[in-house]
Amino acid sequence: MSQAAREEHVHGRQWAETSHCRVAGVRHFGAFTALELVAPRVAAKAAPGQFVMVTVPGAGFLLRRPLSLFTVHGDRVGLLLEARGAGSERLTRLEVGESVDLAGPLGSAFPLAGAASALLVGGGIGCAPLQYLADELATAGSSVTAVFGFRDFRAARAAGAFAVERLWVASEDGSTGRRGTVLDILGVLDVPPGTVVYACGPTPMIAAVQRWALDQRLSGYASLEAHMACGTGSCHGCVVDTARGRLRVCSEGPVFALDEVRP
């Protein structure tokens, strides 16, 4: 990737003001919950790959939770979440008519330029930002193929939350799609030269996709996940090691060049 292209996606505009947003829709897909929020300010400024910090309702929670943008349609923002701890569990129990506070959009975005052919590789909840990306790539005229991996039947039901023209699914328990991981599908897929790879998922998956892309002489991007406190560049809590040194996932990321991450 050129320095200019890197600067463009690293220094994408971000907004930290808080919006009070009404929950307009809640759908459950196995282990995952899709929220639809009325968030015109976030929706107007968002780009695929960016995230929002979400305040967990209730007195017991201090830190906001980082959630990537799953969909953006008009003034609606979609978030896809999985209950991992008490905070995310509370968010999955939100009901239509309740409100939550969002700050964003934050972080760097996936560059879309030059991706006439795009391959989206997601693992588990890491598939979330790839729907918004697929929508924007399709609008831009790209040919989009997605390969998603889930651990089991409950998680794989999340595939029902996605609408991508060509979607391949793997599950580790063999319950849905091909038995195995995304790598098992990548190994049999016919990928045109020049395809841009977009990956988001657990660290071992990012590492495997990075090796695979190197073998295939493909470049691309990875969106990383980290424990965050502020989400807005202040606390240095969410750093990851990269070819450019230790960088903040919230600020320089979450989207990095695939070849610069050190998973």
Binding site: E17, L63, A103, C230, G231, H236, G237, V239
Partner: protein
């Protein structure tokens, strides 16, 4: 207690030593980055800057990459962090000053190190730059905050846990500057007044307290320490009652020494409690992580809280919780 509860009658400005603060609320070092806020703000963040002074993240003589991840997680009524003083080093920090030289508010430079010479080198470098720089190219650096919660290069223990080591570090910084010097104390001691007294005797003009409480969180699956650094510093509402007790103890032991109180301030009434325990100013830390709007809200709540109690100024509330 005769004034009507009209917030507009409250005058919030305070004098912290030679620093004139438009209100008593500053940020806690390491929890709030001015330029990161400015680049994510719709308007002019410098015009709307909510704090009465800016305390940047702790600077050390040489750059540091900090601790391995994970570095932060939430805990009951608080959070734990182990960042490890990640910073670019004092020379790179100085080179970045022109980008925010137009900040109107005074700046309190947070200084770290692992032995007295490293602390003094930071203060010396900043003073040399201020003496030589075009005044328009540097912010109004009016004070230093000496962060003694760093580990001692020899013992590995926190410098602030040892009054003699604290005095050595503060004394080394004092020798480099005539500006206002605050010692930021660690609460990881059995008697915080001994550390405060040592700092003041070594030349500190005032005391900030408290830094975070050394603590541990486990990964409940593996039962191993969760943080990359094994231990970290606990902050947030969970520590506020202990912090209030410590501020009151120092206020009682060292009357007349200006104090900056902090530890779990989430609201204006929390801030007011620290003032009642003897603080002249207060610092907001973890609350910055709840949203960009937190500082302005806390200042407004402090104003309303003073008015509701018929108190016209923060000084009128100062020390109300202390013994006669």
């Amino acid at each position: 207690m005769s004034a009507p509860p009209d917030p507009t009658n409250v005058r919030l400005s305070v004098e912290l030593g030679p620093l004139h603060l438009e209100h008593p609320v500053v940020n806690a070092s390491g929890t709030f980055d001015l330029l990161e806020h400015a680049r994510r703000y719709e308007g002019d963040y410098f015009a709307d800057f909510p704090y009465a002074a800016y305390v940047p993240k702790t600077i050390t003589a040489d750059g540091r990459t900090g601790n391995p991840a994970p570095r932060v997680t939430e805990t009951p009524a608080g959070m734990i962090n182990a960042i490890g003083l990640e910073n670019p080093g004092v020379d790179a920090w100085i080179a970045g000053l022109p980008a925010w030289a137009h900040l109107r508010q005074p700046v309190i430079v947070s200084v770290g190190g692992n032995e007295p010479g490293q602390y003094a080198a930071v203060v010396r470098a900043v003073e040399a730059h201020l003496a030589a720089a075009d005044p328009g190219a540097v912010p109004s650096i009016e004070a230093y905050e000496i962060n003694v919660s760093c580990p001692n290069v020899v013992s590995g223990l926190q410098i602030g846990a040892d009054p003699a080591a604290t005095a050595a570090v503060v004394g080394a910084c004092r020798a480099e500057t005539s500006r206002f010097v605050l010692a930021k104390l660690t609460p990881n001691v059995s008697d915080v007044t001994a550390a405060a007294r040592a700092a003041v005797q070594a030349g500190a003009d005032g005391v900030s307290l408290v830094n975070t409480f050394k603590a541990m969180v486990l990964d409940r699956e593996t039962l191993r320490p969760f943080l990359g650094n094994r231990t970290g510093g606990l902050c947030g509402p969970a520590i506020k009652p202990i912090a209030l007790r410590m501020v009151a103890e120092v206020a009682q032991a060292l009357p007349g020494v200006p104090l900056v109180g902090m530890g779990g301030i989430m609201s204006g009434l929390d801030a007011l409690e620290f003032i009642a325990c003897g603080a002249t100013a207060v610092a907001v830390g973890a609350a910055n992580f709840t949203g960009l709007e937190a500082p302005a809200r806390i200042v407004a709540e402090l104003r309303a809280g003073l008015a509701a109690r018929g108190l016209a100024t923060p000084s009128a509330a100062r020390g109300l919780a202390l013994d006669e």
